[in-house]
Amino acid sequence: MRRRLITLANALAVFAALLLLWQLVLWIFHVPPYMLPSVFAVARSVVARFSSLLASFAITAEESAAGLVASIIVGVLIALIFAQSRWVRSMLYPYTLLLQTVPIVAIAPLILMWVGGGTLAVALIAFIISLAPIIANTTQGLISVDENLVHLFLMHNAAPAQLLFKLRLPHAVPSLFVGIRIASGIAVIGAITGELYAGSSRVGAGGLGYSILYASSQLQTDYLFALVLAATVLGFSFFFIVMFLEWYFLHKWHESARAPETA
């Protein structure tokens, strides 16, 4: 507990030092506020426009969460198919690589064309971008079961469904979480990028990406910074929620979740 408090204090000290540095740069180089607003201007902007900031935050959070949850469901299903045979894997795996390498900014206009702008399009972009790590990690977890454990199940005449649900799937949960951790970060990035192209056009009701675009066009640099801050908070929230879920599901049995006192 004490060690954790010290870690927290250190992190806050670094944050304070960064703010100080920011303010020093402003004072020494006389940067105009539309280029770099002061710490206080950003803070004022956060307070003054808190409700619209929160509204944007909620929209982007919803879109990223929808995309992430969809990618977990679809990704696990695809991984289950991949785990069936080496033959299926070698045939289909290259296409997941395609999913990973296609630049999202290149297909965003297509998606906009197909489903129109708004929440659905953005969630779809978040989904596409976060799917690959879920598939890759879950597949790895499903197929990397110890051979002796498989033999043990075979010795008990286990049915294929038992082998899958009582052995392979539980064994893949830690790897699935590795995938979700990576996916949660890029789902948020995907949603914000998606909003730059396909965000709702209703003024004041756009997500963070859309609002960033709008604020920059209006040279509201202090609000732009507030939005960037909100995007960071969103990314962190996702990360911590996933960390908590991982802890919740794995702390009882998995080596990685062992408490530091006993390790």
């Binding site: 002796n148 454990l149 033999h151 075979l154 010795m155 008990h156 005449n157 038992q162 049995w253």
Partner: protein, 254 residues
């Protein structure tokens, strides 16, 4: 001991595509109630014999009968204990022990009853709800043994189950294993590298020679059952260990 065969190997050969001939023309009968140990240098196909008995792999030539059936059909009455405990880390001890019953569709109540009895039998009642990562190597192996016994097997196959343990735990588990067999009367085929362990446990020791694996010599161990820890200090025991060790060295030379 009535001489009813539990396992029959009739001129069994096994060839793997990568490693070539592992077993060549093995004839072997294990009778009901026997405790047979397989010992030999690495590459002599000891583990392959167990895999063949369990039907996890099929012979290239020859016939294998277990309980008069094909190995796969006989699986219901066979349990396998691996070198590492192979526990499911996401299940607490009691659910690991109940795995075989659960997979076989045995009801929850009955499984619970059996698990409780087995926990007591192997002295693990106090860790019933504990997850495997908290257990020592010896305790993990006990869970593995309890799991194997849960399905009331007629035949127990063990592939160097105590190889990773320290000598004290190994000796204790050897004694416990004999006590359990005394109560439950299963037949055992036991693969080991340790001559002492083989002599202590077995009614018969089969020494295998490598390249390709074949039977080199067979020893009947006539020390009376029940055997206790004190047996290890008797001159008869020492003489048998010396004799088997000598033969084992001979098997390596061939």
């Amino acid at each position: 001991m009535t001489a009813v065969p539990q396992i029959e190997f009739m001129s069994v050969s096994k060839r793997y595509t990568n490693t070539g001939m592992v077993l060549a023309g093995v004839d072997l009968t294990v009778f009901k109630g026997e405790f047979v140990s397989l010992i030999g240098p690495s590459g002599c196909g000891k583990s392959t014999v167990l895999k063949l008995i369990s039907g996890l792999t099929s012979p290239t030539l020859g016939t294998i009968k277990v309980d008069g059936m094909t190995p796969k059909d006989a699986r219901e009455t066979v349990s396998y204990i691996f070198q590492d405990a192979t526990l499911l880390p996401w299940r607490p001890v009691e659910q690991n022990i109940g795995l075989g019953l659960e997979l076989g569709g045995v009801g929850k109540m009955r499984t619970r009853e059996k698990t409780t009895a087995l926990l007591k039998l192997v002295g693990l009642e106090h860790v019933a709800k504990v997850y495997p990562r908290e257990l020592s190597g010896g305790m993990k192996m006990r869970v593995s043994i309890a799991r194997a016994l849960a399905t009331s097997p007629k035949l127990l196959l063990m592939d160097e189950p105590f190889a990773a343990l320290d000598e004290m735990s190994r000796d204790r588990l050897n004694e416990e294993l004999l006590r359990l067999r005394d109560e439950q009367k299963w037949t055992a085929v036991f693969v080991t590298h340790s001559v002492e362990e083989a002599v202590f446990l077995s009614s018969r020791i089969i020494v295998l020679a490598p390249n390709p694996g074949r039977i080199h010599e067979v020893f009947a161990i006539e020390l009376p059952f029940p055997r206790t820890a004190a047996l290890r200090e008797t001159p008869e025991f020492g003489a048998l260990v010396a004799q088997v060790s000598h033969t084992l060295r001979g098997a390596m030379m061939t």
